[in-house]
């Protein structure tokens, strides 16, 4: 009797499904992975963090040259020999140590001055990083129902993994999975990610750029950019698109789902808009950016605003004329609420 063939791809899918099911059932606590990450971070040395002050502090400690030369040895006689040599060269050792100490001290002093200047620049520029972190924290939930059909339509039948960055509460990921797409989410905010994980969805706790950087080139059949594309500065957006482009397989799809500039800062996005480093681009700008980067079949779909000026009843004698004008004013005032841009990665 021949052994049944083992399909490793199927095994992987079964393992992932098992993990999702156990998470959904609560058997795997949603915060467990994060607790492990936090615990390891606690034991990482100061220079393993991004803290500038801690790094300078570490450099200052390293500048202190040890004047006592180690002379111990397990080999008989060697310890004595080392002590004699140490005694003989002690004056030279001191001379070198003083010079190296002075050099190190001068460098760390210069670093302190540089740090002070950077602090001042950050203060004058309104602490862009802090504002960005706050903006991200206050990012409002997006109404995925508006663009779900368009996104699912673009990615249905994708022959590989699809990453949704940022995934938010996972609504869009769930819709894609329900449509048979091998989708997972990327969400940087723990509490939101945990809620999505608890729904049994596969969510990586990471920011979009960080996650995509960690993916292998050509690894993904589709990437959805959502949420973050409305807050990032233009330079960061270019960076994000370049990374995403490199991670897409040939023929893979990049989907940008975003609120439109005219809707940005209205309603629930008020706080987020005030604190964001950037703002949403127009759909036409995305089309231009993606076309310039070699994407093919770049299309955009706009979704009209639900807010409209109230038209006159048709019984009014001037209803037709006035309502036409009201429609024009509504379009000028509210425009489209959101859009989806879909682009296909051309062969390299």
């Amino acid at each position: 009797m021949t052994e049944p063939a083992i399909d490793l791809q199927r095994i992987r899918r079964e393992i992932e499904a098992e993990v999702r099911a156990r998470r959904a059932s609560g058997e795997y606590p949603p915060g467990f992975t994060r607790e492990l990450d936090d615990l390891f971070a606690r034991f990482s040395p100061p220079e393993a963090s991004d803290n500038f002050d801690a790094a300078v502090e570490r450099a200052e400690e390293a500048v202190a040259i040890e004047l006592v030369i180690p002379t111990a040895s397990n080999k008989p006689g060697v310890g004595l020999f080392k002590r004699v040599v140490a005694k003989l060269i002690s004056w030279y050792h001191m001379f070198l140590a003083q010079q190296i100490g002075a050099l190190g001290g001068a460098i760390t002093h210069a670093l302190h001055l540089l740090g002070n200047r950077v602090d001042e620049v950050e203060r004058l520029s309104g602490h862009a990083e802090r504002a960005r972190a706050e903006g991200s924290r206050f990012a409002a939930a997006r109404d995925d129902t508006v663009w779900t059909d368009a996104v699912v339509g673009a990615l249905a039948g994708s022959g590989g993994r699809v990453a949704v960055c940022e995934a938010g509460d996972g609504e869009l990921v769930a819709a894609l999975v329900a449509a048979g797409v091998d989708a997972y989410g990327v969400e940087p905010r723990f509490e939101i990610a945990d809620a999505a994980i608890a729904r049994g969805l596969e969510i990586r706790v990471d920011d979009a750029r960080g996650h995509l950087r960690s993916c292998a080139p050509g690894d993904l059949a589709g990437i959805v950019l959502r949420g973050c594309v409305e807050r990032l500065a233009v330079g960061e957006l270019f960076d994000l698109v370049d990374i995403a482009s490199g991670r897409l397989a040939e023929g893979g799809h990049l989907v940008v789902a975003s609120v439109s500039p005219s809707a940005w800062g209205r309603g629930r996005t008020e706080v987020e808009a005030d604190l964001a480093a950037g703002r949403p681009l127009h759909a036409a700008t995305w089309v231009s950016i993606l076309t310039a980067r070699g994407f093919e079949q770049v299309t955009s779909t706009a979704f009209a605003s639900s807010e409209q000026l109230v038209p006159l009843p048709s019984s009014h004698p001037d209803a037709s004329l006035i309502n036409d004008n009201l429609t024009r004013i509504s379009t000028a005032l509210y425009g489209d609420d959101s859009y989806v841009v879909v682009a296909r990665r051309a062969s390299r």
Partner: protein
Amino acid sequence: MTAIHQFVPTLAPRDAVGGHYLAVRDSLRDAGYTSEIYAQEAKEEYRRLARPFRSFEGSRNGEPTWLMYHSSIGSPVADFVVARREPVIVDYHNITPASFFARWEPYVAGQLALGRRQLAKLAVRASLGLADSAYNAGELRDLEYDRVEIVPILLDVSQLGGDVDEATRDRLERQRSDGGTDWLFVGRVSPNKAQHDVVKAFAAYRRFHDDQARLHFVGSATSHAYETSLRDFVHALGLERAVEFAGSVDDAVKHAYFSCADVYVVCSEHEGFCVPILEAWHHDVPIVAYAAAAVPETLRDGGLLLPSKDPDIVAAAAARVASDRALRDHLVAAGRERLATFSLANSRAALLAAVASVAGDP
């Protein structure tokens, strides 16, 4: 007769690349080339096998002479080779990106960054770039090496086994008699090999699948700071009795660890080839690996490749491999099959063909 001399930063025992240098020398000599190894540093056991690189004075009898530089870290040997007049072949074993070490060991990061700069400088001088994986070949092409050939590392796969240290095996077998799965990872304790992610996955495995499981790390540390953090992490998780740091061991002890392992787990962020995968295949240990850098290329279907190293996923994959006999047998058989493609004869033939294409016959 044509001479092809190797120039290496360090020649050390218990090192796959060190073994490669010796195998290259023997292959070149067997083919009829004159060949010596010149090194910046040769460790005690190998001191008689290498000459100081600065003692190289070029051909004395006018024989055509080529320099083969092995690139894996920054070294004055590279500058020496660049400054020579002889034609150059670069054998690239990958240089770990400095970013992995910058925060842990700034000095090592500096050496790695230097190595990458030197590799770029060598592109102008090199008539041929050799790479032991397509991944490494891609990096050479990115640096605009005109001609790149893939030559797998010269490793006698039939010699991956050998003597087993009985004392170590007895100790490991005694532990196994109490039950529990044995995880193994062999390689330097180094940030790019991400042993901390193996520990995270192992913690998940102990909690959700097998509370008797053990994890063995075999290999010396290239970063004291990283190793210290790793040990503290293990201690904080209360796993100090379940996680062993065996350090640098001789081959017989290493074989004992492989002979008692149930699953070989790789969570590395960066590997230029990953020789221990071949050792795991040889010892019939099934592999669960995170798909990063050259690992997917080396492993192919000879292990369970994971697109994520989420601890829950890695743990579930290891549990599946440990409990699913059919899957385990399949992975072991696939590993054996894949291992055969890395035979020394194949690799030697590829090396000699590549070398002859630029240096001519001996």
